[in-house]
Each structure stands twice: as C-alpha cells, then as structure tokens.
C-alpha cells in the first residue's frame, strides 16, 4: 500500500550512491537486489551523476528507510549489520519507492488480528494503520505473501504471536523474506506505470497453442510437437508436473521415429536485446537415445543479413534420461535475434525423444553452477540430511563446495566451504572478496513469478578465527581432511553461512521442490572492485570552479562534497593513496608496521614512567623511614 501523492515518486531510474561505510557483502547484495528490480519491474538504478535527488545507501545502525521520495537531495537508506539479505534490501527499497508495510493498510483488520496485550509496552505504534486518504492499496487484495508484511512474532513480549491471520493457513506465510510476491509486483508496477522491464525478454511454458510465437523451421527433417505426455516419457510436463489434468503441455521431438542425424528445429519469436548479455534457462527431458542432443543457435539479424546469421552457441549433450533437467545457456547478443532450438537424433536406440519446457530468457547473468539434488524430501529433518555439493571452481579459480544442512528441526542451513583445488598455488591467500551467492530455485515456470530464496556470503581476507588463523586461508593449511564419494582426499575449510537459510515450512511451499528435485544455483564472483569508493559526479556548473584549483595526485579525482572540493583517492586490495591530495601511499604492511612500532613505543614509555615512579617512591620512603623510625615501631606494636 503506497503513500498517496505524486511528489513522493522517484523517476524510473533512481540515482544511488553506495557509501564507503557499507560492508562488501552488502554492496554485492544491493547490486543483486537492483537486478531483481530490473527483471521484474520497470524500476532501474544508476550511479548518481549529480541529479537533484538520490538514494544514499550506507551502513547505519540497523535496516531502515524513509517512505517515498522525500526530495531532500540525499536520502539515506541504511543497510547495517545483519541487513545484508537480498529480500531485506528489496523491502527497504520498496519503502523508499513509496510503500508502507502490508499490515498497516486501512483494511488490514479484515484479514489479521493484532493481539495488543502481547505487544511490548510502547511498541503499539508499530501496528498503526493508515486511512485510505493517506495510503492506497491500489485495488489489490490483502497480501499475506508480501515481502512488506511482518511475521507473526513482531514486537512480541512473550512467545505468543502478535499478528494472527484470520485464515489460519497464512500464520506462517506472513513475514517471508525471499522475493517480491505477485501482488508486490502488481502494486509496484501499477504505481510506477510499468509495462515492461529492462531485463526480462520471454517466458514460455507452452500452455497456449500459439507456443509463444515460436515457429517450426522448414529446413529440417522433423518437427517438435506440442504434447501433454510422450509415449516414452515424460508422463507430464514440467510446468504443472501433471497436477492439472487436461493441461500441462511441452514440446517434444520424437527421435524414435526418425533416422540418425535427423534434426527438428524450433525458432523463438524475434527478440530485441538492450543489454547485450542474456541467460537462457530451460528444462529438458530425455527419453530417447543417450546420444540425442539439443543444439542452441542464435539467428542474429543485421543490415547485411536479412535472413539472419546462424551461430551455434551450445551443444547440450549427455542429457540424463528419465527426469527433467535444468540447463542454462549464456548468450551475448547485441542486435535483433531469435533463439533456435535444434533437436538432433544421435546414434543408439531410442524409445522416445527430447522434450523441453519452461523456457525463460532474460538479460541477466546465468548462475555459474547448478547443484541438482534428487529425491530431496527424504533428507528433510533426517539425521542423513547433511549434504555436500560436488566441488566447483569460481571464475578466479578458487575451489569450493556448498553444504546444506537439513538435519535440524525447523530450518535448513547453508554454508560455503573453500576446498583444496588445482589452482591453489597460483591463487591469492587468504582468499580476498569472493562473493558466493546461493539460491534455492523456486521452479515456477515464469521467471517473473519466482520467489527464490537467496543468501550471499563474501570472503574477507582479514577475517580471523578464534585461534588467530585467517578464516579464508588456503584450505590445505587451515582445512580438515575430507573425502569425495569416489574416495579422493581433499581439504575442506570451515563453512561460512547461515543455519536459518529457510524454514522447512517455506521450503515445502511454492515450487522449491518439484518432482522431488531441488536446484541450488551458485555464483562465486570477485567483488574486489566494490572496495573502492563509488565515483562521485563532477559537477557541471558553479561547483566545478572549486575543483579547478585542486590538483589530485596519483590519479585521484576531485569531487565537490558539501560545498568543498576534496580528492577521492584510488585504492587496491592491500594498498591505497591518502592525504588531502592523494599524495601519501599506504599499505596493509605499513599499517602493521605502524601498529607494532606504536605499541612498542607506548610500552617503552610506560616502562620508563614506571621505573622512574618506583625509583622516586623508594627514595621518598627511605627518607621517611629514617626520620620516623620510632613512630613506625609504635604503630606495629599497636597493631599486634
């Protein structure tokens, strides 16, 4: 429910500054939250370049924001310690965009009961409502699943819930911190008149007969068929998994009825890229030969090629038989194009063919790795529910493993471990600023409707353990010996993550588990570049004169802040420039030397002061002792 008044709206592209105070992990997460807005809404974000108003995201005390654009030039939004979760950032940004909490809308008493005597004293104001002259629920039903709803435990003074939903099934639904709900998006897109987004391109579950505008090629030897089951499998589609009789379609290439080498081509409708990079995601089922494959091509149009130039992007081979499998294909297309799906009949016996369903194309980055966990439900709450992923490598070459704990009573935990790998001799240790993003995929057919649960952690090279070793040091140095299922020995460092990744109740909701399969999407990327200060704009008027007299050395940049010219100095992982004109060079080593020498100097000074004090005191009492010896004797006798 939104604050009424056009003056509170932001432009569709919101200028922002990520302040230096932010933790590195938070910076990466904020950028990921921006990506969720770019995918699902028409709201975009760009670094502040001198616009009249901007969002200043900083590490304050706690997580908070103002509601709407306050038009105060620099509007603060705090992402403090413990707030570095993508859904928390989305929540605070929704406040900034003009939304109150869901439980404060004017009609909330129709849907929830506030139990006032369970609320902590003086905290009642947290359950205010707004009348419909101040707040607009935008003609959208009350939303228990909103990311803007508080959970049942909000501001409780004991253990009993303060918010009770009138439909009891929603008691544990309220308070989700996963992603935008369907209604969150409906309201946001309505408030900001959104009709498209920056990065979404297409989604197809083949439920409609027009197959999303896809076309069969005439230059192939077979066709894709839209079916709801195939004789050799699958028995149902992936979108509905057979839950809806008479619906649930997918595309099938029957490789059993064609000869080896036959090809069936399906082309997407024409697509128009904006960003130049795309991720194609699809589910495949193989019931044919193990040598059947799916080739992904791009047909790219340009002035010189009216029919488009066909480029092979990926050959998807060795598709396991008997279950739906998730695949990602990275594309880098800059002009008008189509995606071409070419099923190829391979050698070997086939009793079925290839099927595809739930295709999503977006201008986002594909996850680096996918961890597919089969027969998932048996692990929930079981002592056997301690799962380690296969080993993966980051783009920088670090080897890592994900650890999912499903053995606790209520929550699933997830942890990142660095493990010994083939590149360790060439890598920097302790591992600096690699951010691992772990996403439990909501397998909703439409990427815009997914509420995937995501957490990120970042390797801080200076972090130490209780025994003084660097936490993210080389696993062969600080890790413990472990074994892969095939018996190969390796070293695994301590895990870093959360025991509260998701409750089992939420895990069993939505489409996190589909066909008893779960997917954890993994990305590990270097975020070292976020360590440096965001470039502040160089003003074009008036203020620019202030910088004309300031010369920053060593590639520093002059900026005007609060009416004063100052230099922003370059910095790297372990050294930096500082000083008024960036004239001083500092390094981690220097800092250590300064710290050690300062400590030694203070110690020496304290020693001298102590020795002098002891010397003076001794002299004083010696002198006293010789002049008042009789008194002392008398006092001692008295005492005994």
């Amino acid at each position: 429910n939104s604050i009424i008044g056009e003056k509170y709206r932001w432009p569709h592209t919101i200028p922002y500054v990520l302040e230096d105070s932010l933790e590195m992990n938070a910076k990466g997460i904020i950028l990921n939250a921006f990506e969720r807005y770019r995918l699902k809404t028409c709201i975009d974000f760009k670094p502040w370049a001198g616009e009249a108003n901007y969002l200043s995201v900083f590490k304050g005390s706690g997580c908070w924001s103002s509601v709407g654009n306050r038009r105060v030039r620099k509007q603060d939004l705090s992402i403090g310690a413990g707030c570095d979760r993508i859904a928390t950032v989305q929540h605070e940004l929704l406040h900034a965009l003009g939304f109150w909490h869901e439980q404060s809308r004017s009609d909330r008493d129709d849907y929830i009961r506030i139990i006032w005597d369970r609320i902590q004293p003086d905290k009642e104001h947290n359950f205010n409502t707004y009348d419909d002259q101040v707040s607009d629920s935008l003609n959208v039903p009350y939303d228990y699943t909103s990311v803007m709803h508080y959970s049942k435990t909000a501001f409780q003074n004991g253990t009993e819930p303060t918010i009770v939903t009138k439909i009891s099934n929603f008691m544990d639904v309220i308070g989700q911190r996963m992603d935008f709900s369907e209604y969150d998006l409906l309201k946001l897109n309505q408030l900001y008149n959104c009709s498209s987004s920056l990065s979404f391109m297409d989604s197809c579950d083949f439920e409609l007969e027009n197959v999303c505008g896809m076309i069969q090629s005439s230059s192939d030897s077979a066709d894709w068929q839209r079916v709801s089951w195939a004789p050799g499998g699958p028995g149902s589609d992936h979108s509905n998994m057979g839950r809806c009789t008479g619906s649930g379609f997918f595309m099938h290439f029957d490789s059993s009825s064609v000869s080896v080498g036959a090809i069936a081509i399906l082309e997407s409708r024409t697509l128009y890229p904006k960003r130049g990079f795309q991720c194609l995601q699809l589910f495949l089922y193989n019931s044919g030969s193990e040598n059947d494959q799916l080739n992904i091509y791009i047909r790219e149009y340009s002035a010189g090629s009216v029919n488009g130039t066909l480029t092979l992007v990926e050959e998807i081979k060795d598709i396991p038989t008997g279950s739906w499998q998730l695949y990602h294909v990275t594309l880098e297309v800059t002009s008008k194009f189509r995606v071409v799906f070419a099923g190829v009949r391979g050698p070997g016996a086939s009793r079925g063919g290839l099927s595809m369903d739930d295709i999503n194309l977006s201008e986002t980055r594909c996850p680096h790795h996918v961890w597919h966990i089969r027969n998932f439900t048996q692990f929930i709450g079981s002592p056997n529910g301690i799962l380690y992923s296969p080993p993966f490598y980051s783009s920088k070459g670090y080897a890592f493993q994900i650890h999912l704990t499903l053995s606790h009573l209520t929550n699933a935990g997830i942890y990142l471990h660095l493990i010994s790998g083939a590149n360790d001799d060439q890598l920097q240790w302790p591992c600096p600023w690699q951010q691992a993003t772990m996403t439990l995929l909501d397998q909703n057919p439409d990427i815009r409707q997914r509420m995937s649960n995501q957490r990120s952690v970042t390797t801080d090279p200076l972090m130490t353990t209780d025994n003084g070793t660097y936490f993210w040091d080389r696993p062969s140095k600080v890790g413990a010996v472990a074994f892969f299922p095939n018996g190969t020995q390796f070293n695994r460092s301590m895990g870093y993550g959360t025991s509260a990744f998701i409750t089992y109740q939420r895990l069993k909701s939505r489409d996190f588990i589909k066909g008893n399969d779960v997917y954890i999407l993994l990305t590990m990327e270097d975020i070292s570049h976020l360590n440096s200060t965001q470039m502040q704009p160089i003003p074009t008027s008036g203020n620019s004169d202030l910088c004309s007299d300031v010369k920053c050395e060593n590639d520093g940049i002059c900026v005007v802040r609060d009416g004063n010219a100052e230099c922003r100095c370059p910095s790297w992982d372990d050294w930096w420039y500082s000083g008024q004109r960036c004239e001083k060079r500092g390094s981690t080593r220097d800092t250590i030397i300064i710290a050690v020498s300062s400590t030694a100097a203070v110690f020496a000074l304290m020693l001298i002061v102590t020795l002098v004090s002891v010397y003076c005191t001794r002299n004083k009492y010696r002198a006293k002792g010789s002049s008042h010896g009789a008194d002392l004797t008398l006092e001692n006798r008295h005492a005994f």
Partner: protein, 39 residues
C-alpha cells in the same frame, strides 16, 4: 570436520528484531520519519 560459522548466530532474525537489538525505536520498526511526518 571444523564447525561452521553462522552469520545469523543461530537466529532467524527479521528486520524489526535486528533494529530492536540496536536499540532503535523507528516508526513501524524500520521507517524513518521526517519532521513533518513526526508532527
């Protein structure tokens, strides 16, 4: 196997819990009001 480091300290804290731990008493738990709204 070494133990894991839990960034959440074993707690599933929501926004209002985090802010409460900081001793903040913001409007509705996480909203900063400006002068006019306060009045």
């Amino acid at each position: 196997t070494p133990e894991n480091f839990d960034v959440d300290g074993g707690l599933d804290q929501d926004i209002f819990d985090i802010n409460e731990d900081f001793g903040l008493d913001l409007f509705e738990g996480d909203i900063r009001l400006d002068g006019a709204q306060n009045r």
